[in-house]
């Protein structure tokens, strides 16, 4: 069985001969890199190309700094620490989100600003929408019991998920990579980065369940489709789905069952029938409202996606018993 691990960002690298060792050894000192930078200002967008001389261990940010010093002194890009702590230099290189200070240069690079955020100028994006979402979630601790004094009783076992979330540097790579955030206002999904920021305190056993509940209610968390794009993009290698979003979903299902109606219904149907019955799922989640959408029901019937007879008779399959064991036994997900 394939288990999601913290190495989502490295999946396929060995097969594609794209290891860190190779990325760091493909240039000689006198090589040049072709860099194309997407520029944007009030007059519109354009691309500008540069030939940048390679130097040892060069990062994307070194290439941008070389350009700003030698070719395009007005190139706007944000960076602060240059060493993967501040998370301010995230951008897209050849179609994937990277931290400019952390990522090795490639022979041909197309550099663009992050997606899903307004662009201010060139590679500088407006962080405000992200910061506002984080603020709305009130990502802090409210204790239900008084603080017992330093050091308080606490173990790493209790903090293991929160501790992963604490590696977050707020770079917004995952926010740019998330396809659900890409849908804009179609969902109320807070997005991976705000959820990781929330996870830092919501997965901390010292936080009061009431406080956590209040924050989780604002996340739209079940809009997450567990596509792992966020994990793949995370430069801090946080297992965002498996160690943050999934535990937060479990917490939401427990504290606010109404938000998890779809998940609860899906599990109940699988436990009862040993398979997914789409007709039953639609009925359970949408109720009789589902019947109002004739056109959709007709299409589903036509394509054999739903079988009203099977749905009404609660037809079980041979998988029912193992499914119940999986869902309710020790192997069940949290």
């Amino acid at each position: 069985m394939l288990t999601p691990t913290s190495a989502a960002s490295r999946l396929g690298q060995t097969e594609n001969r794209d290891t860190l060792a190779l990325r760091n050894t493909r240039f000689a000192e006198d090589d040049f890199i072709d860099v194309s930078v997407r520029r944007f200002d009030e007059s519109g967008a354009r691309s500008q190309s540069f030939k940048v001389p390679y130097r040892k261990h060069m990062r994307v940010l070194d290439a941008l700094n070389w350009i700003a010093e030698n070719e395009a002194t007005d190139l706007a890009f944000r960076w602060i620490c240059g060493s993967k702590m501040c998370g301010s230099c995230a951008l897209r290189m050849n179609g994937r989100e990277v931290l400019a200070c952390w990522e090795a240069v490639e022979p041909k690079m197309m550099i663009e600003p992050l997606r899903n955020l307004p662009v201010i100028r060139d590679l500088v994006v407006d962080r405000t929408p992200f910061e506002e979402k984080v603020a709305r979630l009130e990502p802090w601790i409210e204790r239900s019991a008084p603080y017992p004094g330093f050091p308080e009783p606490l173990s790493h076992k209790q903090m293991k998920d929160a501790s992963k979330a604490l590696d977050c540097i707020g770079c917004m790579c995952c926010y740019s990579a998330c396809p659900v955030i890409g849908l804009g206002d179609l969902t109320d999904f807070a997005g991976p980065a705000p959820l990781v920021q929330l996870g830092q305190t919501a997965l901390d056993p010292r936080n009061s369940p009431e406080k956590v509940k209040r924050s989780l209610a604002l996340t739209g968390i079940f809009n997450c489709i567990s596509c792992y794009k966020c994990e793949e993009a995370c430069p801090a290698a946080i297992p965002i789905v498996s160690r943050v979003i999934e535990p937060l979903k479990a917490k939401t299902a427990e504290l606010i069952p109404g938000m998890a109606r779809h998940s609860h219904a899906l599990r109940a149907i699988i436990a009862a029938r040993g398979r997914v019955d789409p007709g039953a799922l639609i009925l359970r989640v949408q109720g009789l409202r589902a019947l109002a959408n004739f056109a959709r029901i007709f299409r589903l019937l036509l394509r054999g996606k739903i079988n009203p007879l099977k749905t009404l008779l609660v037809v079980k399959t041979a998988a029912t018993a193992p499914a119940r064991r999986l869902l309710h036994g020790k192997a069940a997900a949290p």
Binding site: T19, L20, A21, L22, R23, N24, T25, D41, E42, R55, K56, H57, M58, R59, L61, D62, N65, A68, E69, A72, T73, D74, A76, F77, I80, C81, G82, S83, M85, C86, G87, S88, C101, A104, I120, R121, D122, V124, D126, R127, A135, E138, W140, Y147, F150, P151, E152, P153, L154, S155, H156, K157, S163, L166, D167, G170, Q200, D204, R206, N207
Partner: protein, 571 residues
């Protein structure tokens, strides 16, 4: 001119500035934070690797408590520190700092059984979440506290000048929003400068992009007294390449949960420094390391800009990775961890000196101007010390508050500053961009006011800097006059501050005629406690400089010798 009003304007959003804001807010005094970068992301505080255990917290023995104090005074400040202030600070860190941080939710790393993980040894430390990354959750917590308290926060906004009333008292700040190009003034009853320890004034500097000695330069122009500006500290093993990683350190301190620390190897493959073996009392062994490196450089087995290596090839990788971030950088460069070492180089780090303060109130010599954290000249850096300043400055302002009056700002002063900024944005010389001038200046400082210096080199540096001021600045050109995210314009504003600060540092370095700790002079190689166990105080006098000495009291720790070759002094 758009003018915002507040009780106290705080310039700087690191550990000191944030804690000052939170403390003032708690006392019912309205703060406003002006941050050139992003709170929780910019400045030096983010780089806190671990947190030193002060006093007898967490089972520290009396000896370990004394070691910590001795380390701070000797190795960290070379006796150029108010020892009574250091004691007050240590007590506060023990009794208030850790409990307060933990109550707020900061996660001090535990093991699975619930024991706090410490680095063992003569001096102990703990980490927030992971060693090497403690500053990240620490500053993130501050950001969220500021948010929760509703303290006004102006980010990516640079303070370009301190504004004065008719008596010369500081009553406001002139600001530029870097993202929009809007200028405005903040009128306040007091201003706190909290712009940090580290500035990017040398070719290799730990200072982050935005740190260009703005605090020093603005305070100097406002007439503030400076002290020990020459006392520059250096990181000895920061990664040599890529340039972007110049402030990424192979931490030499003891590792959490291990008896080991990184080792340093010269170009001949010989180990020349390993903190846990060589000097257990030098918890942050930067000066000891630097002296060990100087001997290698003199023997031709290393250079200050590379040619030597650091790493953990004597350690079990699991031991390093359990509680630290250290392996990640090696792997990212494609190196085998821990078998391969990484080439390292020297980087200019914190400045021990800065603006002269009264350590009981954090007043500067200019009425209305207060100081917190590294930009002060009273101590060298640790995130706990910078935080303590945030508390003391709030005490100081609260005590003075009724005497501090808000006054309308001078229109002509604001207009003059606006004109200055407009002129810089319209720079239309033919030769050189602001960032090129910055790099030239950093090159001069590295070559002539670097690790080892002498009078002839420094005189020549002053001439070079003067040449930049007279020849290059008038020829500065800006390619794009946009108001939006114009970093080129910001570089032009920065470079003027940097030039002033570099001159002051060079003059101060010429003035201290000895070597002490990380301050190496080829022409005065000895540490001279008979003449220089004193603050090197620098004041403005008309259009020139005036130096005087102010001896330090030595109530708890004394150097125990008069004159000795600096390279043979442990600290």
């Amino acid at each position: 001119m758009h003018v915002l009003s507040t009780d106290v304007a705080i310039i700087g959003g690191g550990a000191a500035g944030c804690y000052a804001a939170l403390n003032l807010h708690r006392r019912g005094i309205k703060p406003l934070i002006i941050c050139k970068g992003l709170v929780g992301k910019s400045g030096a505080s983010l780089f806190a690797g671990n947190l030193v255990i002060s006093g007898q917290a967490l089972g520290n023995s009396e000896t370990q408590a004394r070691n910590t104090a001795e380390f701070l005074i000797k190795y960290h400040n070379q006796f150029l520190i108010d020892q009574k202030w250091a004691r007050r600070c240590g007590e506060w860190i023990e009794k208030v700092y850790y409990p307060e941080l933990e109550e707020l939710g900061l996660y001090f790393r535990r093991d699975d059984e619930g024991n706090m993980v410490t680095s063992p040894g003569a001096i102990r430390s703990i980490a927030a979440n992971v060693q090497g990354n403690s500053g990240v959750p620490f500053m993130d917590l501050r950001r969220k506290q500021i948010l929760r308290a509703g303290i006004p926060l102006l980010e990516e906004t640079v303070a370009t000048a301190l504004l004065r009333n008719r008596d010369g008292d500081i009553r406001g700040v002139f600001c530029l929003n870097i993202m929009t190009g809007e200028t405005f003034a903040v009128q306040a009853r007091a201003v706190v400068l909290a712009t940090g320890y580290s500035d990017r004034l040398h070719k290799r500097s730990t200072g982050t992009r935005e740190m260009s000695a703005d605090g020093i330069a603005m305070a100097w122009r406002a007439g503030a007294t400076l002290v020990n500006m020459e006392m520059q500290w250096w990181h000895t093993n920061d990664i040599a390449d890529p340039p972007t990683w110049q402030r990424m350190q192979v931490y030499p301190n003891p590792m959490l949960g291990s008896e080991k620390s990184a080792r340093m190897v010269n170009s001949a493959g010989e180990e020349f420094f390993n903190q846990q073996q060589d000097d257990p009392l030098a918890f942050g062994p930067y000066t000891v390391q630097l002296k060990a490196l100087a001997k290698q450089v003199h023997a031709g087995k290393a250079r200050y800009d590379g040619g030597y290596f650091a790493g953990f090839d004597h350690c079990d990788p699991a031991e390093v990775e359990q509680y630290t971030t250290y392996a990640k950088a090696y792997r990212q460069l494609g190196l085998q961890f821990p078998q391969q070492l990484v080439e390292t180089a020297v980087t200019s780090h914190y400045r021990q000196g800065g603006i002269d303060v009264d350590t009981a109130t954090m007043r500067s010599s200019v009425p209305g101007l207060y100081i917190a954290g590294g930009v002060g000249g009273h101590s060298n850096g640790l995130i706990g010390l910078a935080t303590y300043d945030g508390k003391v400055v709030a005490d100081g302002i609260e005590a003075d508050f009724t005497g501090l009056k808000g006054e309308p700002l001078s229109e002509s002063e604001m207009e003059a500053e606006q004109r200055r900024l407009d002129r810089l944005r319209n720079s239309s010389g033919a030769r050189v961009s602001p960032v090129q001038i910055k790099e030239k200046l950093r090159g001069i400082m590295w070559d002539k006011v670097g690790v080892e210096k002498d009078a002839a080199g420094m005189q020549s540096a002053l001439e070079d800097i003067e040449q930049i001021r007279l020849d290059l600045l008038p020829d500065m050109a800006i390619a794009n006059r946009t108001l939006v995210a114009n970093y080129e314009w910001l570089d032009a504003i920065d470079v003027i501050n940097m030039i002033d600060a570099c001159e002051l540092i060079t003059h101060s370095s010429l003035q201290r005629k000895e070597s002490r700790g990380p301050f190496f002079r080829r022409d005065f190689p000895a540490t001279d406690n008979t003449k220089w166990l004193a603050a090197n105080v620098l004041q403005k006098s008309g259009n020139s400089l005036r130096f005087e000495q102010r001896p330090y009291d030595l109530p708890f720790f004394q150097p125990g010798f008069e004159i000795r070759d600096n390279l043979e002094v442990a600290w």
